[in-house]
Structures are given as structure tokens and as C-alpha cells.
Amino acid sequence: MKILISDPNKCNGCRMCRTACAIRKAGVCNPEKSRIQVIQMDECDRYLPLVCQNCEDAPCIAVCPKEAISRSEDPVVRTVIDYNKCVGCRMCLNACSFGTIGFDEDRGRPFKCDLCGGDPLCVHFCEPGALTLKDSTMIQYDQARVSALKRTGMRK
């Protein structure tokens, strides 16, 4: 499975990724239409580009009243929206913990990152190299989880 990794230490907030995404997916310059969001973290003066995380236990799947969002075996996009079932109720937008599901007002339906079919345009436009597409097997999830738990514990 491929996942898009973003490094806030490298991101300079140039928003090339967001602009390129909106142009590719909607043909216009409008951050609202982009599948990638750039979060500005004022407290530490950093930027964090975010796309759909394809969560293991995805809240958007759980909350969808029409079961229009489901897991797939696709190695690139694990969470897919079936637009034949979707009624545009926006429950998924509210449920997403990362705020990476957008809504197309013109078509009345949600959208999210599909990693451009495995070759994400945002990665090509990220000049500082903050965005990289990696195989999930390359990421030490277990270590990351232990580290995160430790940090959480320390804060408590």
C-alpha cells in the first residue's frame, strides 16, 4: 500500500501542491477544490500538508448512512467513495479527523485524494521535497506507535 508522507520540517507553505491539485482535479485555482490541504500551525510557525490518510478504522466509512464509502483492495487508494450510492449528506466531512474530505458544491458530492492513481501531482510540485510517496511497509508503524504512546504518556 502506498501512502503520502508529509514532512512539516521541509514544507515552506508555498502551496504549489494545493494549487496544482485544484487545477488538475477541478480546472480552477481554488483551495476549496484541492484534495490536499496545507495546515498553518501558528503556534510553531510550521506548515503541514495533509491528504486522506486511508485510515485503518475509517470514521467516514462508519458514519456514512448509505454505505457509500468502503475499503478496497486497491494498493493505492484503500478508501473509495461510490458516487452511485452517495447522497451528499456531508456526514463523512464531519467525521473525518483530518479534515481532508472536501465537498463539491456544484455537483453536490464529497471528494478526497485518490493519489492521482499512484503518481500524485503534488509530489512533483513540492520543490522543498516535503511530500513523498512511500510504501507503507517502509514505514516503522510499530515504532511510531510506541513513540507516540510514550509522548502521550509523558504529557499526562
Binding site: 507553505g13 508555498c14 494549487t19 480552477v28 481554488n30 501558528d42 520543490e127
Partner: protein
């Protein structure tokens, strides 16, 4: 014929806003950014106005390509008569403000009059609000941003604010903060325009918007910019030599000669290409062909290299004629010396048939002839 781009005439004293669409003719003659701003300034600024008075106007402009893939962080340009020199001056503010201003529905804000109290202009989705926001004074940019974001502008809001740095004033924008965490390190405003805004009782301009602007050839511009990015780190010897470097270093026209560097700088301000980045002087050299391609792919406006140079020449000439009207000949200093040495005098430039007509600025004749 008009475009979907808009100018807002903001009367701070009366808290009134009038909007006008930008005509195709205006776009073809001046593109946008500092080009249209110079034209609007010449058209609306009263003669011999005191820069610190309510009658002076200040224009905030987004570049013609600001917010597009060619300039996602395209610079905003402020144009006014500066308090320091008494001449037309500009200040470029890099960062996402210009893009956000276009997203909020405006290309140019013409600020006139003086607000009764310290005021913030909140610009969002085609509307402009005049708001007194308590608690902003003496706050840093980050705190000001947090306060203004709560004013229903959302987290995407971008600001330009005027702050004190020692005894002087300086502009602070979101991108400036990203470049320098500590505002104490920032350069004070040398253009004198922060004082003009302060005299208008403006504390901050905040933009937030979701208005989309169309891209003429989406896949074309993606492919073009991607190619430019891929070649950005290539050794210079592998690049095609820029024909501009080989040619003459000045451009001649009905109003005398203009340095090619100044032509390029003016075009960058018209287009909103940020300074000091890959699009600017420190990275890739400004290239007329590339600029023309970018304009056509983003907007559909087809211009050749000579037409681009003509636009810049027109803008520079307007500024010179304005400065002559405002009495630069009687002033001291380097700028006045340059005017005298190069023969940029009333006698040489203020001529309708020889200068205004061929440069297609004849509609400014009645404003600038005196």
C-alpha cells in the same frame, strides 16, 4: 468587454465600497498588479496631494498571475504617493495575501479617505467590511492573525498589518513571519507607504475567500510548470541562453530609454511573481518568453515578448510623468538627479501626440498634462 476581475473603490471616511469590473482593454494595456495600479493611481490621485492627508489614495493590488500555479504566493503590491519622497512609490509584499485577495473576489483595492477610528478591512467572498477590532494594537502578527481569524474569517485568512518596529513602521504579512519568526528582525518600511496606511487609520487588511478563478489551459500549465521545476536545478550551460541577455540592455521608446532590468522588474510586479524565489532574480532569470507562455496558458491572453516590454515601458512612463507633475524637478536627491540627467522633463514627456497617443495612455492626458 469586461473580465471577471474586479476593482473595489473603498471610501474609508464614508465606509462605502463601489466595485467595477476590469475591462479587457485595461488588462491588455497594463496586465494587472503594479501596471493597473499605476494607471488607477494616475487616474484617481489628486494633484499635489499631501501624502499624509485623507485625500491621498493607496492601491493594494494582486498580480495578474497571483494565486495561479505560476505564482501561488504571488506578491501583493501597494502603490501610493510616499510620505518620505513625495513621489509615487511601491511596496511588494510576498506571500499568500495576493492569492487570498483574488480568492476573496478583488484584484485591486483603491483606498481613499480616512477612517474615523482605527479600522481593519475584512475582505471575504466579494464583500468588504469596515471593522474596529479591539485588542489588536501593539500585538504581534501571530496574535493579530488569531484575533482576526475569530472574526469569522477562518483559518485561511491572510493579513497585511502595519506595526511598529522601534521608531519606524513596517509591513508585516503572513509570509514575512514565515521567513522571520521574530518580527523584531524585520526591516522597517523604506517605501514610506506604511505611514500612508497609518494616516488612513488602517490597522490591518485581512482576506479570506473561496471564489475560484478559471485557468484557460489546466493541463497545459501543469505540464509547463512541471518542466520548469524539473529544469530549475540544471546547470546553466545546459539551459538555452536567454536571448534577452544577448540583446541591448535598454529599451527605446517615445518617452526616452528604459533600462531592461527595470522593464523586467516592472513586469514581475505586474504579474505578481515573487521576488527572491525561483521566479525572481535570485533563482531563474526573468524570461519574456516564459512570462508570455505563462500568461497565455493561465489566462488565454496572447502577448508576444515585444508587447510585454511595451506594457512595462508604458507603466514606467506613466510613473515618470506623474512624478514630473508632482514637481520632481524642484526636489533634491538621487531620483531628481536621474530625471535631470536623463532628460525626463515636462517638455520631453508631457506631449499628447508624441508620447500619450503612441503609448495608448491618452485617456490620462487631462489628468497628467498640468
Amino acid at each position: 468587454m469586461t473580465t471577471d476581475r474586479k476593482i473595489a473603490l473603498v471610501d474609508l471616511g464614508r465606509c462605502e465600497v463601489e466595485t467595477f469590473p476590469i475591462s479587457m482593454d485595461l488588462e491588455q494595456r497594463f496586465l494587472g498588479g503594479s501596471g493597473v495600479a499605476t494607471y488607477l493611481f494616475c487616474k484617481h490621485a489628486p494633484e499635489m496631494v499631501d501624502p499624509g492627508s485623507a485625500d491621498n489614495i493607496c492601491i493594494v493590488s494582486a498580480g495578474y498571475l497571483s494565486g495561479t500555479l505560476s505564482a501561488p504566493l504571488g506578491a501583493a503590491v501597494l502603490t501610493s504617493k510616499a510620505a518620505t519622497t513625495g513621489l509615487m512609490a511601491r511596496a511588494c509584499i510576498d506571500g499568500p495575501f495576493a492569492a487570498q485577495m483574488r480568492g476573496a473576489g478583488f484584484e485591486h483595492l483603491v483606498l481613499k479617505g480616512r477612517a474615523g477610528k482605527k479600522t481593519c478591512l475584512l475582505i471575504r467572498d466579494g464583500r468588504i467590511e469596515f471593522k474596529e477590532v479591539p485588542g489588536l494594537k501593539d500585538k504581534g502578527l501571530s496574535d493579530q492573525r488569531a484575533i482576526l481569524c475569530k472574526e469569522a474569517l477562518g483559518n485561511e485568512a491572510q493579513l497585511i498589518c502595519i506595526q511598529k518596529n522601534g521608531d519606524d513602521l513596517f509591513f508585516a504579512a503572513d509570509a514575512c513571519l514565515a521567513l522571520s519568526k521574530d518580527v523584531e528582525d524585520m526591516e522597517p518600511d523604506k517605501s514610506g507607504l506604511a505611514k500612508v496606511l497609518e494616516a488612513k487609520n488602517i490597522v490591518a487588511l485581512a482576506c479570506s475567500g473561496t471564489i475560484a478563478f478559471e485557468v484557460k489551459d489546466p493541463e497545459g500549465i501543469i505540464a509547463y510548470e512541471r518542466k520548469l521545476l524539473e529544469n530549475i536545478d540544471a546547470p546553466l550551460t545546459r539551459n538555452r541562453p536567454d536571448p534577452d541577455i544577448q540583446g541591448p540592455e535598454t529599451m527605446e521608446g517615445p518617452a526616452g530609454s528604459v533600462d531592461l532590468t527595470q522593464i523586467k522588474q516592472t513586469l514581475m510586479q505586474c504579474l505578481g511573481l515573487p521576488s527572491g524565489t525561483k521566479n525572481g532574480a535570485k533563482g531563474q532569470e526573468f524570461n519574456f518568453r516564459t512570462a508570455a507562455d505563462r500568461i497565455e496558458l493561465n489566462t488565454g491572453l496572447a502577448l508576444d515578448e515585444d508587447e510585454l516590454k511595451q506594457i512595462a515601458y508604458r507603466c514606467i512612463t506613466m510613473e515618470r510623468i506623474y512624478n514630473i507633475r508632482e514637481g520632481i524637478a524642484l526636489k533634491q536627491g538621487q531620483s531628481a538627479e536621474d530625471y535631470r540627467e536623463n532628460g525626463w522633463t515636462r517638455k520631453a514627456l508631457v506631449k499628447k501626440t508624441k508620447v500619450f497617443d503612441p503609448l495608448r495612455i491618452d485617456d490620462l492626458w487631462s489628468r497628467l498634462k498640468s
